[in-house]
């Protein structure tokens, strides 16, 4: 075979935790679209639970089926080192997305740059409310990309806008009721609050409800998107959302795994032959992120996007 096409039955699997989370839906669509272009089969797999041992078990079960590659969102990085390496040893190309397992031998890692998102959010907040003011964050300690979005923003503010004061920092763990409660309290304690940054959409829904009820004029920015926050963007209640371009994660994720599995088409100028590694290795792909505002909001309605598409 001299062209980039899948052999009969060649399968690529996408494996995630909390598999019913809507975040994965566009990722998998991108994955599938790329796979179809090359005549490959795809499977969406993983565990419905937020449970690392279950995700590892499902990953190992994926391995039993001997797919050509697995695109995985490792719930935690280090526990995946050994399973990923075992898969690689068994000729299964593993690519990580949105969360990484940097110490494993995975072929590639695709993500939006959480640092860039944080930096963008900080600059946007300052451009809207000025460089002297109060801001707050909600967070979800323990999930690395969310942590990064928060800590990077705080660090960036401290370094670049010393007059921006962090007045509230509450853990709401993606729970809208907890976010409602926390935001209401922060608003009480800080009547002069200017902006709030939220690393995911679940908490944003609760936060907006509290801000609306308090009739307060706080600038809300968050990452990810849900239909409810999208409506709030349209209504002007949320200033903007940063969306990590899920489609690209899936699309690039597939390509990385597929190319690695078909590396025979490629003979680069390096030592891969003598050292015995796969020549198609991409340490890091930044898939960029999109900025959702009132103007472009209509393009980010997942329900509209999914009309007529097969989620599986």
């Amino acid at each position: 075979q001299d062209t980039l096409r899948c052999a009969e039955g060649e399968t690529y699997i996408m494996n995630v935790m909390v598999s019913a989370h809507p975040y994965w839906v566009p990722v998998y669509q991108g994955f599938k679209q790329a796979a179809e272009a090359f005549g490959c089969e795809t499977v969406f797999s993983g565990t419905p639970d937020y449970d690392i041992t279950k995700q590892i078990a499902s990953f190992e079960q994926d391995m039993v089926k001997q797919p050509a590659g697995i695109l995985v969102h490792p719930m935690q990085s280090d526990p995946f080192i050994e399973p990923i390496n075992r898969a690689m040893d068994n000729n299964i190309e593993v690519v990580t997305f949105a969360a990484d397992s940097p110490n494993s031998n995975r072929t590639a890692y695709i993500t939006s740059d959480n640092l860039a998102e944080a930096k963008f959010a900080a600059d946007e907040i300052v451009s809207q409310i000025g460089a002297t003011g109060q801001y707050a964050v909600l967070e979800n300690p323990g999930q690395s990309n969310h942590d990064l979005r928060v800590t990077a923003l705080i660090d960036y503010m401290e370094a670049n806008y010393p007059d921006m004061k962090l007045v509230g920092r509450q853990a709401t763990n993606q729970d809208s009721t907890a976010a409602y409660r926390a935001t209401a309290s922060i608003l009480q304690a800080n009547p002069d609050l200017g902006a709030i940054w939220i690393p995911e959409a679940g908490s944003a829904e609760g936060a907006v409800a509290a801000i609306l009820e308090a009739k307060s004029d706080v600038l809300v920015m968050h990452a990810d998107i849900t239909p409810a926050t999208l409506e709030h963007i349209k209504a002007g209640n949320i200033h903007m959302a940063l969306n990590p371009n899920q489609g690209m994660q899936g699309f690039m994720g597939f390509l990385s795994a597929f190319f690695a599995a078909h590396s025979e088409v490629f003979d680069p100028f390096n030592d891969y032959k003598v050292s015995g590694y796969n020549p198609v290795q991409i340490p890091f792909v930044d898939n960029g992120f999109s900025v959702i505002t009132k103007e472009n909001a209509d393009s980010f309605d997942l329900n509209v996007y999914m009309e007529g598409r097969d989620p599986n």
Partner: protein
């Protein structure tokens, strides 16, 4: 009015108050609030109080159902997912073009049906509430996912009269709080005073003795199980009106919170005792602690430790006060 579930007495109101099981909790909450009002100038403001009550009002409706179920000797782990399912069913029907009020009614009926389904497995098949409601917790969550594809349903097009349930106010008081108060007062009264609900206590206290008193205990348990799910349905509809969306992942872990509130308020996990009033105080306690930590901007890394410790201390003090009084 009688304020302890057990024991009709007629004494002076003050002595009655001091003898109430709930007095200790009230005192603890008051002490916390007084402390907070010194610690933060914002605590005692109307807006803060309002926000605090809004934060627990809807869940409080579920607490009512859980308390009654606990008194009858049952337990329900499915409350979180059934509440979510209520939102999802109503939201989904609304998007199919059905009138939101009709959609809500259908959804509440469906939740009631889920309760009846659990009640059937408990009373007819003979399984334990714990395991039945655990299975239903998983099934109902699955139904939420199936109906939404895991994606929240945005319901911005809900008519304003409907959203009014969750977002409106009568005078200065949000309608949510009014509904909450009506539910709480109604069931508190019924549980203390009505013949029908007295049977719930008998059944939970000693199911066999209740059967030997001619009470159809299975029916009682069936009904309390059903009622709890029905109230989850009501809560789900209010949440939907309030948030303007239906979230398939809503209410994860709600069951522990709700059971904890009831237990802190004096409900026994072995059945036979508990009051709505106490359970609501338990809810208030949990809520005041959380809100206070946020208001004081306590570091997130310390919050859980402090929250857990206050909970343990409060329950211990309450227990001590109750023991001394008896």
């Amino acid at each position: 009015m009688e304020l302890t579930a057990n024991g009709p007495r007629s004494r002076s109101p003050l002595i009655k108050l001091l003898k109430m099981r709930e007095t200790g909790l009230i005192a603890i909450i008051l002490v916390l609030c007084i402390g907070m009002s010194f610690a933060s100038p914002y605590f005692l403001t109307w807006v803060n109080m309002r926000a605090m009550v809004m934060a627990f009002a809807v869940e409080g409706i579920v607490v009512v159902g859980m308390t009654i179920l606990l008194i009858s000797g049952g337990i329900d782990l499915s409350v979180g997912s059934v509440t979510a399912l209520a939102m999802v069913i109503a939201g989904w029907l609304f998007l199919q073009g059905i009138d939101p009020w009709v959609a809500s009614a259908i959804s509440i009926v469906a939740c009631t049906g889920i309760g009846a389904f659990m009640g059937y497995f408990v009373t007819r098949v003979g399984l334990h509430h714990f395991i039945v409601s655990l299975a239903v917790m998983v099934i109902a969550r699955g139904a939420c996912l199936l109906m939404t594809g895991g994606r929240p349903i945005g319901l911005f097009t809900l008519p304003p009269e409907f959203k009014f349930i969750g977002q409106g106010a009568i005078g200065p008081i949000p309608l949510v709080i009014i509904i909450f108060l009506i539910v709480v007062l109604t069931f508190d009264f019924m549980l203390r005073r009505t013949t029908a609900f007295r049977k719930v206590f008998y059944t939970g206290s000693n199911e066999k003795a209740a059967a030997y008193s001619g009470i159809r205990t299975k029916r009682v348990i069936f009904l309390t199980t059903t009622l709890c799910s029905a109230l989850c349905g009501v809560a789900g509809i209010i949440y939907m009106a309030r948030f303007g969306s239906a979230q398939p992942t809503f209410g994860l872990g709600m069951e522990l919170n709700v059971i904890a509130a009831a237990v802190i308020g004096g409900a026994s996990l072995n059945g036979g005792s508990g009051t709505i009033f106490g359970a609501i105080l338990g809810t208030v306690l949990l809520s005041v602690v959380s809100s206070s930590l946020a208001l004081l901007d306590v570091s997130v890394y310390w919050q859980d430790i402090i929250r857990g410790s206050i909970l343990l201390a409060a329950v211990s003090i309450d227990h001590y006060l109750n023991k001394r009084r008896r």
